[in-house]
């Protein structure tokens, strides 16, 4: 009782997501967390667990389980340039786990801010932002990616910007809808009546109450972004070679896939399992959010 936590800003990050603590109660969410956690561990431990350097040419076209000339085993085989696929999958985790969260976070920063502004301010702000988002959503996302990345060059930064541009309109719409439902509540009127500035009402009064659906969406969207980065890599618009990138690995070896399916199989399994983990986590979180 001596300290009742009087400053709103101090309390916000820890206490507003109390329902997250219930994550252990959903089996689906736990499984999702486990898969995601596995890949994070792989990314962190890449230098120690990868058997070979990812870009070293050793022995081309080795099948899974073949022995390496200087000792060691190619558990997943090697690709057409003789690089160990297991090591490349392991190092590729780093790429995807850096750029996918970065792109998602930036997309959410833009989308949530836009949605809060549009939903809270209404009027011309809403009209402008909504038309802009309609404009972006009218393009097929893939076409948009191809235009941006091929125009500005394939680099990590450009991929992040392209994903932000393509996915923030949908996030904005979701946020706007949540804000519209919340802005009419009496606690928002109470904040207005004590003269709170608009940013404070948007970010501190309204946003925490919309956090549940937004977090679920973030998990799902992170999965889409992983797929997007894979797709861009597959189209040759991903990270410049020779650095390992799951989508790029499939692209480079697809000509050989009929004869050596292992070259495309393992990167594909990696992408699918990470996306599956994120989707399971999102499903579990949705359960927790809607239960309250």
């Amino acid at each position: 009782m001596s300290d009742i936590g009087l400053d709103v800003a101090e309390v916000l990050p820890t206490r507003s997501f109390g329902w997250l603590r219930g994550i252990g109660q959903s089996k689906v969410a736990v499984l999702g967390c486990a898969i995601l956690g596995f890949w994070i561990c792989v990314a962190v431990a890449a230098p120690w667990i990868s058997p070979f350097p990812p870009n070293q040419t050793i022995r081309p076209m080795a099948l899974p389980g073949a022995l390496a000339p200087n000792g060691g085993v190619f558990w997943f085989g090697t690709d057409h340039l003789g690089r160990d696929i297991l090591s490349r999958v392991i190092w590729g985790t780093r790429t995807v786990l850096v750029y996918a969260p970065l792109a998602t976070a930036l997309a959410f920063a833009v989308g949530v801010t836009g949605g809060l502004l549009a939903g809270y301010k209404r009027g011309w702000v809403d009209a402008l932002l909504s038309r802009l988002s309609d404009l972006v959503l009218a393009f097929p996302a893939l076409v948009l990616y191809i235009i941006i990345v091929s125009k500005f060059g394939a680099s990590g930064l450009n991929i992040v910007l392209a994903v932000t541009l393509a996915s923030s309109p949908a996030i904005m719409r979701l946020t706007r809808g949540l804000v519209l439902a919340l802005r009419g509540r009496a606690f928002v009127a109470a904040a207005q009546l004590r003269g709170e500035p608009a940013w404070r009402i948007m970010f501190i009064e309204i946003l925490p109450n919309a956090s549940g659906p937004l977090i679920v969406d973030a998990c799902l969207r992170l999965g889409y972004v992983v797929i997007t980065i894979g797709t861009l890599g597959f189209l040759g618009l991903g990270l410049p070679p020779p650095d390992p990138d799951w989508g790029g690995m499939v692209n480079e070896t697809r000509k050989f896939a009929l004869v050596f399916p292992h070259m495309v199989l393992f990167p594909c399994i990696a992408v699918s399992s990470l996306v599956l983990g994120l989707n399971l986590l999102a499903d579990g979180l949705r359960e927790l959010v809607t239960r309250d």
Binding site: I4, L6, S16, A190, E196
Partner: protein
């Protein structure tokens, strides 16, 4: 009636629910009997098991509930022994049900007529055409103005009252022998409620249908039922004739319920509502012995907290479950309040011909909703002004203009020396923000669910510039909590951990953070249980007395207004019909609309009132009637001039103003003739 076999017989019924926390006994050992054609009331606060018991009579226990003991017999059949098939033949043709929320009881995507006809086809085996005729006839019996139009309408096109009438028609179409009414009027306006209550009384006579009427409002139960049972924490604590329970309640809980309701026949200065302290204990936490014990002022150790207390008969018609009912002195109905405060008569707020019009966009472009039109009245410093009227009459619009949430279209609204009419919130100086605060209607929306309540009050304290440093802010929060009778430890709680009444208290504490001169309360108690209403009402009055705060209360509940207000403004369709001191407004001569409102308010009263039930619904504010806006529903309309000429404002004594064509002397004469005869209030005991 005694010779008849009972229609519904519940014998020692217990219902429990399986939850994550184990088995929860919601209802325990309830016995009741309803005869053919009899209306029986079930009264109690939320969470007492009334609805559970009602649904049990239909053999419905929900997914996780079951009949844990006892038997339920409807027309001689044991409900528990029936198959789903047989139950279906009881639900509808045997027992019809009317829910609280009419809108959610109707399918929004099917026309009302088709929904009604379906019931007649399923349960009475009529052809589609016959069913349509039967449905239309039943709707006509519901006294709706244009049954054919309602048949063709979708639910959202009907008003709340019409929806509830359609639901009652649906329940009656299979010609049930028992009608189960679960708070059927709780979400309706008071004038609409009066119409429904009237209708139910008529239907009971014409159809000879028995009724089980569930309500938290003793007054309503008294208007419909002969006998009633008061439920508390899953068991019946008192049963008997309704009139006897009003005048001579025997169980302390019944006494508490009776004392929570304002008496219109006693002057305000001499009565004080006595709330029941505490809350209904959750089913898992019921005490041994008397379940009402923790809240009872007659609680006596070793008498009340030992063995289970039985329902003892006190006379052939009544029984009470109280170990001390023979010894406790009946409580005085209302406490006397010595020395009412002398309000300084000094104007704080003055509205002068205030208008607020909403121009419409889209297809109705060019039309204007006249939400407020020419409002003129004043509120004195330190007084309570009540603004009364049905929903849609523009009371909340006025509050929004006053608070700066929207700007007026014309006229002036003075607060001390500042004109607020067109002063939006962001142009109001900090001192003005501090002086004007608001208490909201819905306790579930008034607080931000994401933060502990202490944080929210503290934010208001800081923002309104009362205190800045941490210790003085904390001290202020503690004093605000204690001012609203909440323990200081509640500062750490989140809104989801508080009850409705507690949330409303926090809302009041937050409004008081900057010691405002004026607090506007928009329906502050209408969403609360009746015992909590009394507590919040007393709290508001107390704060007003001690802080000298001016209150503007917006309400449709005349009983509440009569109890709390010094001055009353009656609004209809955006216009002021009557203004005056409370003691004048509630005595003839009053405006015919005020008369209808007063007559509609349910009260606990031994004498039967002559009721004026307004015909029809509130006209649309989009095209208000010409002349006097009330002429389409006025029961005392003198002639054609009401349709063309706006009514003159007639002055009675002491600033009491009535806008009506009928001369005041005539009004007074007509109304005195129909005013209920004064009876000396019956002494308790």
């Amino acid at each position: 009636m005694l010779a008849q076999a009972p229609l519904l017989e519940m014998n020692d019924v217990s219902v429990s629910y399986r939850t994550r926390a184990g088995t929860v006994p919601a209802v325990t050992g309830v016995s009741l009997i309803i005869h053919e054609g009899e209306a029986f009331g079930l009264v109690g606060e939320s969470g007492c098991g009334k609805s559970t018991l009602g649904m049990a009579s239909l053999g419905y226990f929900g997914r996780n509930g079951r009949l844990a003991g006892g038997s339920i017999r409807f027309a001689g059949q044991d409900i528990a022994a029936l198959t789903q098939q047989q139950l279906r033949r009881i639900r509808g043709p045997g027992i019809g049900i009317v829910y609280q929320e009419a809108m959610s009881a109707l399918n929004p995507s099917i026309r009302v007529g088709a929904q009604l006809a379906e019931v007649a086809i399923t349960h009475r085996g009529l052809s589609r055409q016959q069913a349509g005729v039967a449905a239309c006839g039943m709707l006509a019996e519901m006294q709706v103005p244009d049954p054919e139009r309602i048949m063709a309408a979708y639910p959202h096109q009907l008003s709340g009252g019409q929806q509830q009438r359609a639901v009652i028609a649906m329940a009656l179409l299979p010609q049930p022998r028992l009608l189960l009414l679960d708070e059927p009027t709780t979400s309706l306006d008071v004038t609409i409620e009066a119409g429904i209550v009237d209708l139910l009384a008529t239907l009971r006579r014409t159809h000879n249908t028995a009724m089980l009427f569930i309500s938290h409002n003793l007054g309503l139960v008294g208007q419909i039922c002969d006998r009633a049972a008061v439920m508390y924490a899953g068991e019946i604590v008192e049963t008997g004739e309704v009139q006897r329970m009003f005048t001579q309640p025997r169980h302390p809980y019944t006494m508490g319920l009776v004392r929570c309701i304002p008496r219109p026949d006693l002057p305000r200065a001499t009565q004080r509502l006595v709330p029941i302290p505490g809350q209904v204990s959750a089913p898992g936490e019921r005490p041994t012995g008397c379940r009402f014990g923790p809240r009872c002022e007659h609680f006596s150790r070793r008498v009340c907290d030992q063995a289970t207390i039985l329902l003892e008969p006190i006379d052939p018609a009544s029984a009470v479950r109280c170990a001390r009912s023979a010894t406790i002195a009946p409580l005085p109905m209302l406490e006397n309040l010595a020395g009412a405060v002398d309000p300084r008569d000094q104007t704080l707020v003055a509205a002068e011909r205030l208008d607020k019009f909403y121009p419409l966009r889209g297809p109705a472009k060019g039309h204007v909703v006249r939400a407020n039109q020419g409002l003129t009245f004043t509120a004195a410093r330190g007084q309570t002004l009540a603004i009364v009227g049905e929903s849609g009459c523009g009371k909340s619009t006025f509050a929004n203009v006053l608070m700066g949430l929207t700007a007026a279209s014309g006229g002036k609204l003075w607060f001390e020396t500042v004109d607020l009419a067109r002063l939006p919130l962001d142009r109001r100086p900090a001192a003005l923000l501090r002086d004007l605060q608001m208490v909201f209607q819905n306790p579930d929306e008034t607080l931000n669910p994401s933060y502990p309540v202490g944080t929210q009050i503290a934010r208001a304290v800081r923002r309104l510039g009362v205190a800045r440093d941490r210790t003085s802010v904390q001290a202020r929060v503690r004093s605000l909590l204690s001012m609203t009778r909440l323990p200081a430890s509640y500062a750490d709680r989140r809104p989801s951990q508080l009850s409705g009444g507690q949330k409303q208290r926090v809302g009041i504490a937050r409004a008081l953070a900057g010691a405002p001169k004026l607090v506007v309360a928009d329906e502050p108690v209408s969403a609360l249980d009746v015992s909590v209403q009394a507590a919040i009402t007393e709290l508001l009055l107390d704060i007003q007395r001690t802080q000298q705060t001016t209150l503007i209360i917006i309400s449709h509940d005349l009983g509440f207004v009569r109890y709390i207000a010094d001055r009353v403004v009656v609004m209809y369709l955006g216009q002021v019909m009557e203004v005056g001191a409370a003691e004048h407004v509630f005595e003839p001569p009053y405006h015919p609309y005020t008369e209808a409102l007063i007559s509609a308010a349910p009260t606990i009263d031994a004498r039967r009132q002559r009721r004026i039930v307004l015909s029809g619904e509130l006209p649309s504010a989009l095209s208000p009637p010409s002349g006097c806006p009330f002429h389409t529903r006025c029961p005392r309309k003198p002639g054609a001039m009401c349709e063309t000429e706006p009514p003159p404002e007639q002055m009675a004594q002491d600033g009491h103003r009535i806008a009506c064509h009928i001369p005041l002397a005539d009004l007074a004469r007509m109304q005195a003739a129909t005013k209920p005869v004064e009876v000396v209030p019956q002494q308790v005991g």
